[in-house]
Symmetry: C2
Subunit: 456 residues, 2 copies
């Protein structure tokens, strides 16, 4: 059977594939630091050459920031777009790394063999699982496993400033029927997952102003309004006693997850105690009538991400400050409209202001939640293919965080995506000593070969 031959080729070629990844990892493509601009471009060029080596027509498209690598190849009825990113996080604090982050190595650890280095898991190693699957397919069959478009971004770790304009300006170039995104993790070390629900995100900052300047709390404490006190009162009013968000209309467009999905989630055996225990907690603090998994995957939230006001340094200063501010984010689900919620939140804050206080708002972005349409049979086909490769059955899962590219592909290209990745929670992405399990890399390649055989 042809798939078996591809899987055998992947197994046979594992050392060479690992060597290619190591070469890729040696390029310090840190997108947020202008000092590495040339290295980011070099990583894009390396990818172009690697795609060309397996017969893909590829080019690095320049943007106001770092290049977008786009490649095309193969044939088939279903046009598939694969997304990954070749830029990496900065490496500080460098002193916490056990070796040069850009001198990757293969290491034996108590939990198995790992590829250690910046970008190994996020996202160079993941991206290469797909490229290597294509390479093996090409070696066995002389063709690619489907009609493929490759989109590799170089700015994912620095806020993707060029992504939306690039998608808008290159709709024709990127036209496809289905997206595949490889930038997520396994559900468990033996259980793969397809992420089909991603929470959206609304970011707000409020600055409450009271007096026109900082005052001495001895001279003015009492009669002068204290903006920290006003801010605390507003923030404490954002949740009720049961943990529900009190912004008017907040839950209007929140839909309940279907029983079918909930049953599947319940069957995952999510261990809320262990999940919270890993960060020193023991009680789910969200809506009291929801499980911890629902609280993360399917329920919207309001979090205060930062607060400041007055003097917060060493010692004490009896200041009565002129202003106090907080950064607040809402994780959104289902059909919640970020702009509608922003407006309701701002109105609520304005109505809560006492005399003599004013508020300034700063917009820190808005993205609705993404939900993929899993009625497309490709989803079930991919889930079965994954389940063939891994010890445990693949699950449809939600994600508490946002992966903006999934929403952008949906909005701009009209494309639902499967988010499938092989990272693990201990990969230390964004931290020192990042690694990617060799089994993630190996089984990742095999997974894509199986998925492409099933859907392309």
């Amino acid at each position: 059977m042809s798939l078996d031959a591809v899987l055998a080729k992947i197994d046979e070629d594992l050392d060479a594939a690992t060597e290619r990844l190591m070469t890729f990892l040696r390029i310090p493509s840190i997108s947020t630091d202008p000092a590495y601009k040339g290295d980011v471009a070099a990583a894009a060029d390396w990818l172009v050459r690697d795609l060309e080596s397996i017969g893909i027509e590829a080019r690095a498209h320049s943007t106001p920031g770092h290049p977008m690598v786009v490649g095309h190849g193969g044939d088939g009825d279903r046009r598939i777009l694969f997304y990954g990113h070749y830029d990496v996080q900065p490496v500080d604090p460098l002193e916490l790394w056990e070796r040069d982050p850009f001198d990757p190595s293969i290491e034996e650890t108590p939990s198995g063999t790992v590829i250690r280095g910046r970008g190994a898991s996020d996202d160079k190693g993941q991206l290469m699982t797909f490229v290597e699957a294509c390479r093996a397919w090409k070696a066995v069959h002389g063709t690619l496993p489907g009609r493929l478009t490759f989109l590799f971004e170089g700015e994912e770790e620095s806020g993707s400033p060029s992504l939306v304009p690039f998608l808008q300006e290159n709709r024709d170039l990127l036209e496809a029927d289905l997206g595949l995104i490889c930038d997520t993790a396994l559900y468990g070390s033996e259980r793969p997952a397809i992420t089909t629900m991603l929470r959206g995100l609304l970011g707000e900052e409020i600055v409450i102003q009271g007096p026109s300047k900082d005052l001495h709390s001895g001279s003015f404490g009492g009669p002068a309004i204290n903006p920290i006190r006003v801010l605390a009162r507003i923030l404490s009013s954002l949740h009720d006693e049961t943990g529900r968000v009190t912004v008017p209309g907040f839950y209007d467009d929140v839909e309940e997850v279907s029983d079918q999905v909930l049953d599947q989630w319940n069957a995952l055996g999510f261990d809320a105690e262990a999940f919270l225990g890993s960060v020193g907690l023991s009680h789910p603090a969200g809506e009291s009538d929801r499980t911890a998994l629902e609280q993360i995957w399917s329920r919207p939230t309001c979090e205060i991400n930062g607060i400041k006001g007055g003097y917060a340094g060493a010692g004490f200063k009896t200041v009565l400050p002129a202003e106090a501010s907080a950064k607040i984010s809402f994780r959104l689900v289902a059909a919640q409209d970020p702009q509608k919620i922003r407006a309701a939140f701002r109105k609520m804050v304005e109505e809560a202001l006492p005399a003599d206080c004013t508020v300034r708002f700063h917009d820190h972005g808005a993205a609705p939640a993404s939900r993929m349409d899993i009625s497309d049979p490709a989803f079930e086909a991919a889930r079965h293919a994954l389940s063939e490769e891994w010890p445990e059955e693949a699950a449809y899962v939600g994600a508490g965080g946002s992966i903006p590219v999934a929403g952008h592909l949906q909005e701009i290209l009209g494309l639902d995506s499967m988010l499938i990745g092989f990272g693990k929670s201990d990969d230390q992405i964004h931290s020192p000593n990042e690694k990617y399990d060799l089994t993630s890399f190996h089984r990742g390649m095999r997974s894509w070969a199986r998925i492409l055989a099933a859907i392309a």
Copy 2:
């Protein structure tokens, strides 16, 4: 009459007295900056020599910090201790000064002649009003105007670390019946004041800890408790809707001001609108059933002086922080016991903590309120003497802030003090371009001559 001769001598000697002050102001005695240690010592030595020049036996006593200048002279039944400080605030931001802060000058301004320079009003100019009154008295009478002890501190602007131990170790040296402190302001530009009530101060810092480390709000938002939210809820519970502090027992030892004092305060014509208007406010925000003047002088408060938690820099970070903290101060009045209130506050915070949260408390000092016993006839005598000198009648006033030395003299030396000063609210103490009105300096000297004639 002998007082008239002293007043005439003060008038005659004004230019010379101003020159002496200018010399004193040229010494950059910034106590908080170790680079100026030698200058602080030089200012102490200058004072010793100046006191000796009018027949006072004086000495700079070394301390672990800067010297204490103590002088004795004169005769009389009532032993009077005069306190001032010869250290000054730092001068940054230096670029906002219109001239070298330590190159003082006499300037004509639309509101009169001023002495411009760091320390002119706080407190070198004020301190010298007393010394110059004594000098004129000595010139006219050949003696000092009473049995006087001079205590000049060099650490007032850096937290007075040596003051309490020095008072405790030198009770005999400093023994007296009445204190005079010159470090306050006029009530109005034509109305002098004797401050007889000073609020106390209790400083607390609370650090609320939730998760064991900073979390990603996408991955944990919902089930993980957010310490900023907990902190906001606690802080917003510290006042009720009428502005009263809710710490249990907080008002137990608060006494009402006598009708006599209240009548006098009401007669001052305090303009709350102008007071608040000067800092961009229009509504007294304290206890709703109290006047603004009561809110500052005779009512206790709770203020949040600083708050921090999570990410509060530029941009946005979806962090769910491990901890959040706030600095809180209580202004205390009457017999309120700082330690009792600290304990009640801490208990209240602990009881408000939800599951999975802990709190750490930091003690930022505690001082009870000071109230002077104005039944001593010296107070009325001084008030009449001041009223003779100034266009408007002198008032007994309260002070919202704390002047710790008044409390220390009371506790350690058993000494009630009259706080009398001639600063003005526009003197820009602690700010660039500090000044002291020449009329404050001149009338200040004359005021002391009158007061000493009346009480010594």
